[in-house]
Each structure stands twice: as C-alpha cells, then as structure tokens.
C-alpha cells in the first residue's frame, strides 16, 4: 500500500513539470485600464551626461527646446526629433560624429519630396529614424520596411 502510494506520488511529480510548463503560456486575468493612452512625450530637461561632449550637446538641446522648439510648433516629421537625434547620437558615439549625423539628418529632413515613402512610422504617425542606423556600425542597423508601424518609442 505504502509502495503504491510512493509510486503515485512519483508519477504525480513526473507529470507536474509537463503541465506546470503550460501555466506559463495560459492567459491570466488582465488589468484593463480605463485611461486613454498618452502619445506625446514629456521633454527630459535633465543635464545628466557621461562625458563633456554629451553635457555640451544636452545643454544646447535644452536651451533650444526651451526657447525655440517648444514655441515654434510641431515642425519635425521624425521621431526622434532632430534635437533628440543629436542627443542620442552623442550618447551612441561622440560629439563630432554626432554633429555629422545631425547635419545629415537635417538634410534628410529638408527632403519633403520623397521622405514619406522611405521610413517606417511610429503609432502617432511620425517617421521613425533612430540614430542607431547611422553610427557606421553595420551590426547595429535594424532595417524596418516603410509599411512597418513601430510601437511608441
């Protein structure tokens, strides 16, 4: 009787991993939120930076955002915006390379004729153009086709 009980326990333990694994994939009760999703990004005006170049570019960007960009309307069709692109580029590379990336981005921004068919979009409709694709490191490039919609960055 005792040995049968032990065998039963043994088989229960044998079967448990197979069925317990399925629990990871079963959907659970979801937290349904009534709130509407917010698409706009709040500016990050902090001066935190890892090096002098990044600090310089962040300072310039903060000043630009505060005095100019936040009052002259929504002019940039890209996400990240050109100023945010400069900050992120400086983080990825260095201030010199980031400047070159920025001027290239500014040129592409001025191409109002063909840019709309070239880039994927974020869910808010802006053109998705991350700096990781422009670091000259082929391994970092994540190509996405124009019809792709990126989840909010």
């Amino acid at each position: 009787m005792q040995s049968n009980f032990r065998i039963l326990i043994f088989f229960i333990f044998l079967t448990m991993p197979a069925l317990g694994q399925l629990d990871d994939f079963k959907w659970q009760k979801a937290d349904i939120s009534y709130e509407k999703q917010i698409h706009y990004n709040k500016r990050n005006y902090s001066f935190e930076s890892d090096n002098a170049g990044e600090f310089l570019s962040k300072s310039l960007a903060n000043a630009y955002w505060f005095f100019i960009s936040d009052v002259d309307g929504d002019n940039c069709p890209f996400r990240p915006t050109c100023s945010a692109f400069l900050i992120q580029s400086a983080k990825e590379t260095n201030i010199l390379q980031a400047s070159l990336m920025f001027f290239d981005r500014f040129t592409r921004d001025m191409n109002i004729a063909t840019r709309h068919d070239h880039y994927p979009r974020v869910s808010a409709g802006y053109l998705y153009d991350p700096p990781q694709n422009y670091t000259l490191n082929q391994g970092k490039i994540k190509y996405l086709p124009p019809e792709f919609i990126v989840e909010d960055e």
């Binding site: 079963k26 959907w27 659970q28 009534y34 709130e35 706009y40 009052v71 309307g73």
Partner: protein, 280 residues
C-alpha cells in the same frame, strides 16, 4: 388496479426519475466545477471546463449560462473578440428576455472597454427601440452614459445619467469634468493674439516666450520692408515670423488637448478605482 400493480407502477416511476436525475447530476457537477473556477478567477481553466461541458452536452439547459460565463472569462482576460463571440452565442441560446438583455448588455460593455463605442451606441439604440425592454430604460441610459464617457463626450454622458436621476453621482462628476476642460478651438482662436492661447491654458512661460519671438520677428520684418529690403523682409517673415506665429497657434491647441487628456484620465482613474457603482 391491484396493489401489486400499484407498487410496480410506483417503483417504475421512481426508477425513471432517479435515472434522469442521476445522469443530469454529472452535467450539473461539470457546470458547477466550471463556475467555481470562474468565481476563483481562474478564467483560462473555467473556459476549458465550460467548453468541455458544451462539447458533450446535447441539451439547452446549460448553453446560455456556459456561453455567458465563457464570454465573461475572455472579457476578464482582455480577449475581447472571443468574449463577444461567446456572449453572442449566449444571446442566441437565451430562454427569456431577461437573459437576452443581460447578454446584450455584456456585449455593450465589452465594446465600451475596447473603445468601439460606435458599436456600443448602435446596440444601445437597438435595446431602446425594442418594446420588450421598455422598463429597462434607466439601465440603458446608465450604460449609454458610460459609452459617452469612453468616447470622451462628458456633456452627453452627464445628460444620460441625469435622465435616470437629476442629481445622479455620475452626472455631477461628468459635469465637473466637462466644465474643467479647455476648449482647443477657443485656444486656437485666442492665439490669433500671440501668447493669449497659452495664457488661457495656463502655460504662462510659453506664452511670454511666444510673445517675445513674435514681437522680435514682426519688428524685423516690418523694419526690413520699411527700409525697402524686400527680400530680407520676405525671408524673415516667411521663415521666422510665420513659423513662430503658426507655432504659437499649434502650441495653444496642443496644450489644451494635453491638459484635457490629463484631466479626463484622472476622472477615468477615479471611476476605475474608487467608484463603487456598476462598471463595464
């Protein structure tokens, strides 16, 4: 009839009823098991057991409630398309008008939650126009109010709730939200005077900076024309003054919309977490 015949008839009757009851108990047990899982919020397993019951069951006693609870399980798992499918089956298997009403109301609630409120309104209209549900008008108006809330139409939501009761709690809440919201169109019109739209939405710093830029570029543009530097005037006017002037209008509208979103989300948070009444 002889006494033996009566005894045989009685025994026959008892056997037949016991047999029926006994078989029925198994389906009842299965239904109760599934319902217990639903009550314990183990929705995936509840759906499995309801599906098991419906697969083997040929009758119609359990169909309505099994499909209803399956639909509600999917709703609680945010799988709304499956929820509506099963709630529709529940409605098709309803045995009376109360069950039809409950099933359709649950479908309306799912449409509210997934913000397909146009569909919710269509279903609410169909309930209102159905003479069988004349005495359910208060409930219909209640859920119409919720549908308006989720469509961001707080004024109409307030009207729907006040149709139930003049000083309904949700009517007063919706009124206070509606009164607190900025009017984006008004913000744009006020911005025809640079900075005024931003002041209206409480963004005073942005308004002052906007005034500053518009005054500067306006002065330089007019000065250039007055000095016959027409090209300079056109360039400054179109590239700089117009950019900051239209930007000021855009910003005022954007501030109004952003602040409205924060206010409405705050109200929705209250409704979700603190409101004690029926919710979708």
């Amino acid at each position: 009839m002889t006494s033996v015949s009566k005894i045989l008839l009685l025994l026959l009757f008892l056997w037949i009823s016991k047999v029926n009851l006994f078989a029925q108990d198994s389906f009842d047990e299965q239904f109760n098991l599934a319902k217990k899982l639903y009550d314990e919020e183990k929705y995936f397993d509840a759906v499995t057991e309801f599906k098991r019951l419906l697969f083997f069951y040929d009758g119609d006693i359990y169909r309505y409630e099994s499909n209803l609870l399956t639909g509600l399980s999917y709703k609680n798992g945010s799988i709304f398309s499956e929820a509506i499918q099963h709630l529709t089956l529940a409605e098709l298997n309803s045995k009376n008008i109360d069950e039809i009403f409950i099933a359709r109301l649950e479908i309306i609630k799912v449409n509210i939650l997934r913000r397909t409120t146009a569909r919710a309104f269509t279903l609410l209209d169909s309930l209102q126009n159905d003479s069988r549900f004349v005495n359910k008008i208060d409930e219909i108006n209640y859920w119409r109010g919720w549908a308006y809330i989720f469509s961001d139409d707080w004024r109409n939501a307030s009207s729907s709730f006040s149709a139930i009761q003049k000083d309904h709690q949700l009517s007063m809440l919706c009124d206070s939200v509606a009164n607190d919201l900025y009017n984006p169109q008004l913000a744009k019109i006020l911005s025809l005077v640079p900075g005024a739209g931003q002041f209206y939405t409480g963004e005073y710093v942005s308004g002052v900076i906007s005034i500053g830029w518009n005054v500067l570029w306006g002065y330089l543009t007019i000065n250039a024309f007055m000095e016959d530097r027409v090209l300079d005037g056109l360039l400054i006017g179109s590239l700089l003054w117009w950019r900051f002037y239209s930007g000021n209008i855009q910003n005022a509208e954007k501030f109004a919309i952003e602040k409205n979103l924060e206010k409405t989300n705050s109200a929705l948070r209250y409704l979700q977490n603190d409101y004690k009444g029926s919710k979708p």
